[in-house]
Symmetry: C2
Subunit: 330 residues, 2 copies
């Protein structure tokens, strides 16, 4: 089978690509596995760090909104398209037009290219808890209305509707994964209001100070990158009938307060590591983060076999194994 | 104040225009009334029947997706834009691209033109119960997720999200009215699966036979054209703070079975009128209509003062008064 990943050089795209090359196949709805003959990663730039060469792998750079670029990318033999290309939340908020262009028009361009194939390829879309916000119930159920409070969340929610309608029309065989906050992200702190959730684990384990701008009882709905990648693989193997008409699936995660995150860090790495976290309350960041949903009841996602981490200890241990080569600075 | 109505020559646009010209003013959030200096109706064609000439009224024909047409329409002094222009449900289902172009891109073009003014005009959008369908709770609450099962419903739901985000960004001061099925529509039966709901009242009152293709216990969530127009006027006078961050408001209606509709028709017009309804069960239409939501609990809409008809008798009497000149054929 032939697989395309837009945003394939980003954080999740890159990890998924490495995993696909490693396992060499994707599940199909009949319960078997389909061998991957080709894997194309599409992005605005090359992956950093580079992905080791592989005869099945090619990397294509271009514009996600260009009919020409995307038409060339989504050729007649494409079976599975992962659509991850997106401007992040803070970027879409700072530049509304850029967010609409990349996050909404880009998804529409890829959906249209898939539609032109007339083969109904599987289309796997990445959505987000940013689809929720504002006035919400204390627990988000599968049937809770999306009430995004950012342009990023609005664009993701609109795309969810588009994926469902393209699927209903038979243009694609869509499945949208509405992901928890991905923790622990590798790399460096960024401008995202959620950056501390990865930072307070990632930096201390590497001997660096980290800043926590929110209260110890602030909770966060979390999923590890490892489980996210597993979910994107699992999504391909489900039949449309099993998923149902609503192709948007809230993916199970786990809720942890900052205190719980740091207690887990202490149990994995010791108090000296936790001592590298500096508390610097920031009212602006606290206000943003307080508006995010923290508790979910993803009944459908669980029934469809999507699994969450056992807790923060597993999340931290996976990070040490996957990103730090198995060791940390105590 | 200056008012623009897109789709202004359609069924609801035309009625709203007549009412605005009659009352000469629109409410403002301070509790007062603002005099209407100009009312521009934009549509693909002239109104039928024509609207009597009025110095405040102008009619402009053009393409709802044309930046040029819409840029010229939404001039710097526009205070209120009603956006009704749309391809109906069956049309958007038959021609997906046309539906996307008119119902989604058209709304986006008008929103963008409003944004360019940098004055944040009030933007009143017409949404629909078609935003719901498929797996639904037995009663739709304000916080129930939108699960459209048609392209029309998907496009309306996407626009609801867009109006909320444009409002949050300060580009417009949006308010979306999610309307019940409008009963009794004037005119002739059309290809809509809901056409019988108006037909079984409208035709018998004019001495003609009507066909009812659904079961007597089939229910429908209804609102009269008169109440719909009142709702669109009321929406302009609410402050954004009163409405809240979610500018989409489910408008209260009343639920009636076919049996209740015909009992009301009998009480208003007599059994001989009801006898003109011929029962011709149609499994295809029944299947479509059975998938529509019938019971709602629109708490926010009621709290914001939107009112429903007292029942089918009021709906029928309003139709006779407004569309049949006060009399019917018994």
């Amino acid at each position: 089978m032939r697989v395309v990943v837009t945003g394939g050089c980003g954080f999740i795209g890159r990890r998924l690509a490495l995993k696909l090359l490693e396992q060499g196949a994707l599940p199909n709805p009949s319960g078997g596995m389909d061998e991957i003959e080709s894997l194309v990663l599409f992005d605005i730039g090359e992956p950093t760090p580079p992905i080791p060469p592989d005869p099945r792998l090619s990397i294509v750079t271009g514009d996600i909104c260009s009919d020409v670029d995307i038409g060339a990318l989504i050729g007649p033999s494409v079976d599975v398209v992962y659509h991850f290309a997106a401007v992040v939340s803070s970027g879409a908020e700072a530049d509304f037009d850029l967010g609409m262009r990349v996050n909404f028009d880009g998804a529409r361009t890829v959906l249209e290219a898939c539609r032109k194939l007339e083969t109904g390829p599987r289309f796997i879309f990445s959505s987000s808890v940013a689809a929720y916000g504002g006035d919400m119930p204390s627990v988000i159920e599968d049937g809770t209305a999306m009430t995004p409070q950012t342009s990023y969340g609005s664009q993701k929610a609109m795309c969810e509707l588009l994926v469902n309608d393209y699927t209903r029309k038979g243009f694609v065989d869509g499945r949208t994964l509405r992901l928890p906050t991905v923790v622990v992200r590798p790399g460096k702190p960024n401008k995202a209001a959620s950056t501390w959730a990865s930072s307070i684990i990632r930096e201390p384990l590497q001997g660096q100070e980290a800043v926590c701008p929110v209260a110890a009882d602030q909770a966060m709905w979390c999923l590890s990158p490892r489980r996210v990648v597993d979910a994107f693989i699992r999504a391909v193997g489900l039949s449309g009938e099993t998923i149902g008409a609503n192709r948007a699936i809230a993916i199970p995660g786990t809720t942890h307060t900052v205190r719980e995150m740091l207690d887990a860090l202490a149990s994995v790495a010791g108090d000296s590591v936790v001592a590298r976290v500096r508390w610097e309350p920031d009212a602006d960041i606290q206000a943003i983060v307080s508006g995010w949903p923290t508790h979910f009841n993803p009944v459908r996602g669980a029934a469809l076999g999507f699994s969450h981490d056992s807790g923060m200890v597993e999340i931290i241990e996976a990070f040490i194994e996957d990103e730090l080569g198995g060791s940390f600075i105590s």
